[in-house]
Assembly symmetry: D2
Homo-oligomer: 351 residues x 4
Amino acid sequence: MANVLILILKSDATEPQIQHVIERVESLGFGAHLSRGTFRTIVGLIGDEQRLQSEPLSAIPGVAEVVPVMPPYKLASLDAHPQPSVVDVGGVPVGGGQLAMIAGPCAVEEPDRMLRIAKAVKAAGANIFRGGAYKPRTSPYSFQGLGEEGLKILRDVGDACGMPIVTEVTDPRNVETVAKYADLLQIGARNMQNFVLLTEAGQANKPVLLKRGMSATIVDWLMSAEYVLAQGNPNVILCERGIKSFDPSTRNLFDVAAVPVVKGLSHLPVIVDPSHATGKPALIPPCALAGVAAGADGVHIEVHDEPEVAKSDGPQALLPDQYAEVAQQIRQLAALLGKSIAPLPASKASG
Amino acid sequence: MANVLILILKSDATEPQIQHVIERVESLGFGAHLSRGTFRTIVGLIGDEQRLQSEPLSAIPGVAEVVPVMPPYKLASLDAHPQPSVVDVGGVPVGGGQLAMIAGPCAVEEPDRMLRIAKAVKAAGANIFRGGAYKPRTSPYSFQGLGEEGLKILRDVGDACGMPIVTEVTDPRNVETVAKYADLLQIGARNMQNFVLLTEAGQANKPVLLKRGMSATIVDWLMSAEYVLAQGNPNVILCERGIKSFDPSTRNLFDVAAVPVVKGLSHLPVIVDPSHATGKPALIPPCALAGVAAGADGVHIEVHDEPEVAKSDGPQALLPDQYAEVAQQIRQLAALLGKSIAPLPASKASG
Amino acid sequence: MANVLILILKSDATEPQIQHVIERVESLGFGAHLSRGTFRTIVGLIGDEQRLQSEPLSAIPGVAEVVPVMPPYKLASLDAHPQPSVVDVGGVPVGGGQLAMIAGPCAVEEPDRMLRIAKAVKAAGANIFRGGAYKPRTSPYSFQGLGEEGLKILRDVGDACGMPIVTEVTDPRNVETVAKYADLLQIGARNMQNFVLLTEAGQANKPVLLKRGMSATIVDWLMSAEYVLAQGNPNVILCERGIKSFDPSTRNLFDVAAVPVVKGLSHLPVIVDPSHATGKPALIPPCALAGVAAGADGVHIEVHDEPEVAKSDGPQALLPDQYAEVAQQIRQLAALLGKSIAPLPASKASG
Amino acid sequence: MANVLILILKSDATEPQIQHVIERVESLGFGAHLSRGTFRTIVGLIGDEQRLQSEPLSAIPGVAEVVPVMPPYKLASLDAHPQPSVVDVGGVPVGGGQLAMIAGPCAVEEPDRMLRIAKAVKAAGANIFRGGAYKPRTSPYSFQGLGEEGLKILRDVGDACGMPIVTEVTDPRNVETVAKYADLLQIGARNMQNFVLLTEAGQANKPVLLKRGMSATIVDWLMSAEYVLAQGNPNVILCERGIKSFDPSTRNLFDVAAVPVVKGLSHLPVIVDPSHATGKPALIPPCALAGVAAGADGVHIEVHDEPEVAKSDGPQALLPDQYAEVAQQIRQLAALLGKSIAPLPASKASG
């Protein structure tokens, strides 16, 4: 059995309070290991930590602080799965040295444009095509996406090019529909703690791309992955896309250190999205390379061939030529690190 | 017609780029008002700003910066409604000098305990009873709420005490069910940008309590209110409950200045939730008073009569006696400010 | 002797590593109290915690985490001084129920204007007059203050009005000079961790007003107070003036909860500065009241009679009439809380 | 002449207010270019922006917002110096494709250990040796550095190895002394807005390594560089070392995007310090590579041969072997990007 939690008691905790703490801990089925000092008494809890998640231990009178010893996520942890996971996205293996190269416009637009962009990013090295059919927009007056019509366009373009596709799902009622078309279900940053949606996505039979919330700690993020994993869906790819900070120089703050932090805690693949992290085309290539240098399992970049008329997020899109240039640099950097861009699925590569 | 937006061009913008900017702006149906300088050229856009929400103006070559002149929300703004709105919550008027006093446990628990707590907080001055039937928990292994059974308990307790009730809705599929039982629908901080849920709540015929997201700017928050208002539901109460910060001294960072900031931008009532903002019982009374002193239209406080066995968030609950004490101080402070605690509905006051 | 620190070892810590940890701890003169579990071993350190401040315990192989049990500050803590301290500022007692009302322009300007403003704020209830002679400005091209000439003006105006004065010191070489003129030495937010300056200020025979740094945790802040206290100067007043956050709605984020947090950790008086915290005149009165409601021992507000020509920070200054109005509200609120505005020194009140 | 600033007036600005704004602007020697709209009036200011730094324009009645068009820094900007600057550090050229490799322990310790570490990092590829003689410590009870004795040790070790040296200066009274020994003067993060110290450093005849403050925006940082440049010292190297954030996973938040942001605004070299940015040895190599991939002009890493007895920051030091490994990877990555590690000075290389 293990020390799973330490209670640090208040310096003025009374003897009856200490006894009550011990009784309370034991009533929960845990062993209590007491260590008294002049100023502070410490209680180590011994037992099965899973059962402690809901217990309000810090509300027990006399308790000053609760120090967890074990991480609160299980299935996402390296303890559960010491080797890096490789997630299959429509035939493209992501993780374990093989990089996802996700590219495409922010929103699904008309079929011709989509096909044109898909061919361009595929030629440049992209292996998963993206586009939003359901767009979570800050303003109710902004373009909200083409809906299922957009899913069909995206699927057709993916099939025509032999590329798996990824698209965002925003509504638990749409998970089944989106899963019918897409190879990879994206949960956006604003929905990272939409636990209802996570639970539905965990029950779909498609892998999930889980973006980090703008104010989520890395532990929060892994807990959200745990929601999907706990439903029996082991195929989660994490995506760092910038967090909130005080400097308006960039749209968000690209937390590149999150990549090696995650690698030290979890077996799940983790990719980076420098498009949303920075919001500025000039910053996307250097941050894409930074992400790969830090150990990311892939890069998500928005590409549009005419940003000034894009339906969504045009100002942060790379042009196809700019994408081709950074993709080439990523390929070289990957080689230096003993990695490579994941191959397209053989059966579809003819597309 | 109005200047609705200013484009600041790059210092090296070429003459053809400037011409292209003008053509592009005019093709969108806007007038362009050019002001040239040695270093920078500025273009003022004149027209109907509503139509600009989706246009990627900063993606036009030569544009350095886009400076909005008008706020992106309309219905939530003081321009749309210069007087403070008063929202009726099951007969309790919130806003315009009358304070909401929302109190109750984090999660709905067994009926006896709920009734006991409701009676205690009502006696102390609370006018809306709260309890969560659907709990968004960071961990999939934590207690997730009693669901519809919890709604029934809450309704029964509210009716027995003559208090309107508020409870959180987390799933767009449940909005109708929750609206059947509750007088006020809470949208939690983690769902503040769950636009699917906001849209559903906007179509329900019950007022909405919209908590501020942990990384939401005040403009983001008002834009989320706009989602509800744009569906035809004018009854939104905002709730400041702390934002993310770097100091672990408190669970979140209580942004008390948000209260007067909102008052300067919007007609919607805004209340404070010191329970979630601070996460520590000792900090709740001073922060509750601070919120009222800053002009809040009410206070949301979690109360439990046995925090150490609470199903959720026990460590941050006030005891009924502690609540009675702070409620009394709020009453005095309100009087000093020319305000008062909103009365319970007459028809129910006998309960 | 006391448990002063807990070491949580890595889950894969080897037996030789555990032995090495114990030897290392004992070689530092501490007792080691070992608690083994299946997954984790925990070591409690017993001894004099003061000696641990510099020891790199987390660098010992096998150590996963170091959990301090005692706060790192001593003289600033309630353990050292359980009753609230009252700091005498040129005859005005600050703390223990008596409020500092610090008011005046950002920078010292010409004598006539200074005298005019001083008389106005004194009439409104201010008991300490402020003005900056050495201004730390973000831009090297901005007005940097009048220097010693400004100190003289401030002293003369203070004497003429019978008010103690406070002014900022920014250079360790000037501490003696500033202490010659001022009754209270202000250390600004940007210098909160200028340990050289703190040490000099600790050796001056004047009380110190220590503003919180924009990215300082409350513990960092108390550690900076400890620098002053450790030099033998027990007279420190803390001042919350806003921290960095992501929302540009306000200049800084006013952390009103810092007031009760400090009260729970330290005996030092703590005041609030809503002028710098918000940067907008309309927000200053509500935030001043919020600070007092939360338990602050005073309020620092910038006042100027002609903000549009002020030498520094004009846009955030209150007009004398606006100050008089909020001062009156503070007086009433203080009475409600059983407090009062501290009286001016008797010998000077005739001024 | 140029549009240097835009004033956006309030929607309810009166005609007399508008006239007053124009008079005020003209009295400051600026031209006013008025653009009226139905909702908002905009005033463009034309003239020499340098003179505007201190003017409280937003305090003029009727002004809603002040939008600067030109950056507030001049000498640091690309306008002043369109080509990347190369800073000579004791014969080592930093910038323009040549990387600084700064390495050494946090604090200067005994001579033998210093020499041992210097030789090891030099063999691995380091070209500037570091060590702190004056340590700014959060706690007054921590080791504060060896002072001038430390400077001598550092100088001797640098001479013995033929490496230039860098050390921190914390006190304006010590700048001359530190400049006598060191080839590069470090201004630490906590002193980034210690304008007194910046001014002194600007008058020293040695280059300055300016670390970014923990809550400094990139514009704040460039303004602090401007303080040094404005004194006539053109040799400033910027160093990103992590900013404050809400996630305790890392000591600070490594803002790798700051590197390309700075490159787009300034000619000054910018290096990264993954040691302080992350605080954890396992994260230093991936973040060092990320920094170089993003375009940094060098890497600052703390190295100690016995971290568990280090006098300061032992827990975040790399061992010499770990440093050699990451230095080799940096060398390869630099080659891929068409850069190289800057050579040691020829005259000293024999050392």
